[in-house]
């Protein structure tokens, strides 16, 4: 029970305990600010951490990352602008809840689901890291491609009502993803001779543009047509709209557990990331639901599913980092940098050579979860009430300015700010004409990894496509994807028959 020693060493170090609480607060705030991504905040802190005791440095970054994942849902719920990439799925049902005046309820579901998902993921990390790593290590490019395909099919069910429009949005995402360096030959594609396009578009400016800027434009348009007063976040006098009843919690438990499992699985695989985890579990739960038509209109399951998956990524994403030295996310890469500079060697031996440090860090992660759950649960009502008092004419301009900061801070690049603005316009047009921006972003994320895996596989197999069915694990994931696709087609067909009968009678 190394984790118990971890707790003992954590609680015997007052600075470490203080760091956990401080990091939880900072993480929630940073995550909640639509312009400040957690990754950017951590990047700013990395140089400072060189002067700190290694355990304090790691605790600070790790807990900020965790709390930030939850924090991202706050602005998604309140303003329809995701604070982090992982929260983009949360706004699908979170924001409609706010429009119904149930902000407090949405935030409470979000924080509880986040905490559960995070805890679930951490348990896997603490008790199964070495075991899991021995399996994931064997996954090669063909297996990854199969997983990408499966994820893509599952997410397909959230792209909106029109399959054609969903496909067009996805193809647009794939097209944008193909700008930059060819993953195999290293030559540039579609860069039009511009050095800034050489390495392609990065996720944050695209995300901030299509989700945040477009929302600001939509809000601006709405207040212009409503006169100068603008709209206000509705508040409800009914106390039940802010509280969570036991029956509601019960409805969310199975959703949260399944989504935590999905999030953890995706977290184990480096490179997919929390936005994919959140959308996959949202899509899967919507498919499972008896009332899929209610999804997107503001139901609490639609917040619980993506939030638990998003946070469940946190712990398991440390597994490839610690045991294999493969960072799965920007945050993981920065944690690895901090470990490197402090002489902590990542690799299979880390659980013996740096045992005390690692388990103290894990203990800090668990205390960190508890901290942000308490902050979020008891703070959510307060946050909701306070924000409701601020007029939108102050909120959205602030969000707009913060968006510039977000786009710039990733690569210190003004070009990225331009990209954000252009895609703000693109996102606005897409949303006006009902093309899913979520499908666009997810395709962008998945296409890069999928292309790389596909072409690596073909290099290994000398161009034979059989490699995807000859390798058993790849074959299993591919057939799961195909079954999923079949089920969707059948569902769509049945729906159409049903509609036909309705119109005939």
């Amino acid at each position: 029970m190394d984790i118990i020693y971890g707790f003992i060493s954590l609680f015997s170090n007052p600075t470490a305990i203080f760091t956990v609480f401080a990091a939880a607060i900072v993480g929630v705030i940073v995550g909640a600010t639509p312009g400040l991504t957690t990754a950017a905040a951590i990047a700013m802190l990395v140089p400072v951490t060189y002067y700190l005791d290694p355990i304090i440095a790691l605790i600070a970054l790790y807990v900020i990352g965790k709390a930030g994942r939850f924090g991202g849902s706050i602005s998604a719920v309140l303003f329809n602008t995701p604070g982090t990439a992982g929260a983009a799925a949360t706004q699908l049902d979170g924001y409609p809840l706010t429009q119904k005046g149930q902000t407090g309820k949405a935030l409470k579901v979000s924080v509880l689901a986040s905490g559960c998902g995070d805890f679930f993921g951490d348990m896997l990390l603490i008790f199964g890291a070495t075991f899991i790593a021995s399996y994931t290590m064997k996954l090669g490019p063909p297996e990854y491609l199969a997983i990408y395909v499966m994820a893509f099919i599952v997410i397909g069910s959230v792209v909106g009502n029109s399959i054609l429009k969903g496909l067009i949005s996805s193809l647009f995402g794939i097209l944008i993803a193909s700008v930059g360096l060819d993953p195999v030959s290293g030559s540039t594609r579609f860069d039009f001779g511009d050095v800034n396009l050489m390495s392609g578009f990065s996720l944050v400016p695209l995300l901030v543009g299509t989700f945040v800027i477009s929302e600001v434009l939509i809000q601006a348009q709405r207040s212009a047509s409503n006169g100068a007063v603008g709209y206000k976040i509705p508040t409800s006098e009914d106390p039940d709209s802010q509280r969570l009843s036991w029956s509601e919690i019960k409805r969310c438990i199975p959703v949260t557990l399944r989504s935590s499992a999905i999030g953890s699985f995706i977290g184990i695989l480096p490179g997919l990331g929390s936005s994919v985890a959140a959308f996959v579990s949202y899509g899967e739960e919507k498919r499972r639901s008896k009332e899929p038509e209610k999804w997107g209109t503001g139901i609490i399951e639609g917040v619980a599913a993506p939030e638990s998956a998003n946070n469940a990524v946190s712990g398991p994403s440390m597994i490839p980092l610690l045991t294999l030295g493969v960072p799965g996310s920007t945050i993981a890469a920065m944690l690895m940098g901090v470990m490197l500079i402090h002489g902590i060697q990542v690799g299979p031996t880390i659980f013996t050579t740096s045992k005390d440090l690692i388990f103290t860090l894990f203990a800090a992660g668990l205390v960190g979860i508890l901290s942000y759950v308490i902050i979020g649960y008891y703070g959510s009502g307060f946050i909701g009430r306070t924000i409701a008092k601020i007029p939108p004419r102050l909120i959205y301009p602030t969000v707009f300015i913060l968006a510039f900061l977000a786009a710039y801070s990733v690569r210190s690049s003004l070009f990225d700010v331009l990209v954000m603005l252009i895609f703000g316009g693109v996102g606005y047009v897409m949303r006006r004409y009902d093309y899913s921006v979520a499908a666009f972003i997810i395709s962008f994320v998945l296409a890069k990894g999928a292309e790389e895996a596909f072409r690596q596989s073909l290099l290994i197999s000398d161009g034979s496509l059989l490699i995807f069915v000859e390798r058993p694990v790849a074959a299993v994931f591919l057939s799961l994807g195909v079954i999923g696709l079949g089920l969707r087609v059948r569902q769509a067909y049945k729906q159409r028959q049903f509609n036909k009968r309705l119109t005939q009678s």
Binding site: P47, V195, S199, G347, S412, Q456
Partner: protein, 325 residues
């Protein structure tokens, strides 16, 4: 009266003239007058970034001004390089590059800046070494074993990108020994190592510092340099092993944009040397396993040009081979 006026005017003219001649040397004496921005054309947390961060951690004690590291990743290090080349050449913007891949990639493809024409090298501060690595249970005990088998059948190997130091080192070896193997590019050294650990490939070319912590599961067959890596010094070089090879290394180099005053370069180089003697710097680099080196501006220029000339014929052949693919 008139005389005084004239002498006054003369004095003014002289002062103005002197001011227009002197500034560079005067400013050089005061350099740096504000924080120095160090462009790292790779992400935070990587190898080159770690070198930059350790240097920046002791910069203030020596320069009385901080060095602020700014990561501008993308385009195999050329996005940041373009930014640094366009910056004012007053010594307040420097670039810390992994020069091996920077130079090679510029030789292989048309790039927006030229590593030799658009920059002046200040100092080599460290060096990354590449080598052949196999899994511990691999049948290959020596480089010779591997080459012999590669001549019989097509082996699969992993690297972190075509055109980089690792890929070119491998291509040189293939050319010298007359074999060809199937290459699979992965994103970053960590993923290459993982492909090796998972048995996806027969061998890999990676930076030997990547093997640290994985000694139980990986075996380094040889390092493509004349000298051993000063930190990972248990790995033999190809020279020691008696294998024909070409030298491939990536010197971590501090650059300034072209046209920077020689006095500023000198001041910067001397300061870097002093930073490397600081206790804090030694502690950090030792902990991180970073190999520290120092070359002055003249040595650095000569070293980089020598490497380029050594590599030119190999690059030409690789270009021809890639054009066929």
């Amino acid at each position: 009266m008139k005389k005084i006026k004239f002498s006054k005017r003369l004095a003014t003219i002289t002062t103005v003239a002197l001011m227009s001649v002197l500034p560079s040397s005067v400013f050089a004496a005061e350099y740096p007058e504000k924080p120095i921005t160090a462009i790292v054309p790779f992400g935070a947390g990587g190898g080159t970034d770690s070198y930059a961060r350790t240097l920046s951690s002791v910069a203030y004690d020596v320069l009385k001004q901080p060095i602020v590291v700014v990561n501008r990743p993308g385009g195999s290090g050329y996005v940041g390089a373009k930014f640094a080349a366009d910056a004012r050449n007053d010594g307040h913007t420097i670039m810390i590059q992994s020069a091996g891949s920077f130079i090679l990639s510029g030789m292989l493809q048309k790039r927006p800046v030229d590593p030799f024409k658009d920059f002046i090298p200040v100092s080599v501060i460290g060096q990354l070494h590449t080598g052949i690595v196999v899994k511990k249970d691999s049948p290959y005990q020596t480089v010779q074993d591997l080459i012999a088998d590669a001549k019989k059948k097509k082996l699969i190997w992993a690297h972190a990108g075509r055109g980089g130091v690792h890929y070119m080192a491998a291509s040189a070896l293939e050319q010298l020994h007359g074999f060809s193997a199937k290459d699979v590019p992965y994103k970053g050294g960590g993923n290459v190592r993982n492909a090796l650990l998972g048995g996806q490939v027969d061998f890999a070319w990676i930076g030997v510092q990547q093997v640290a912590g994985f000694e139980d599961s990986l075996r380094v067959l040889g390092v493509a340099n004349t000298e051993r890596d000063p930190v990972q010094n248990s790995y033999k070089t190809f020279e020691e092993l008696g294998v024909d090879y070409s030298r491939f290394v990536s010197p971590i180099t501090v650059y300034v944009p072209k046209g920077t005053d020689a006095k500023i370069i000198e001041k910067l180089a001397v300061s870097i040397k002093e930073m490397q003697t600081q206790k804090a710097f030694k502690k950090l680099t030792k902990g991180a396993g970073l190999a520290v080196m120092y070359k002055d501006p003249a040595e650095t220029k000569l070293y980089l040009e020598t490497l380029r000339d050594e590599w030119a014929p190999i690059v030409e052949k690789v270009k021809a081979k890639l054009a066929k693919k």
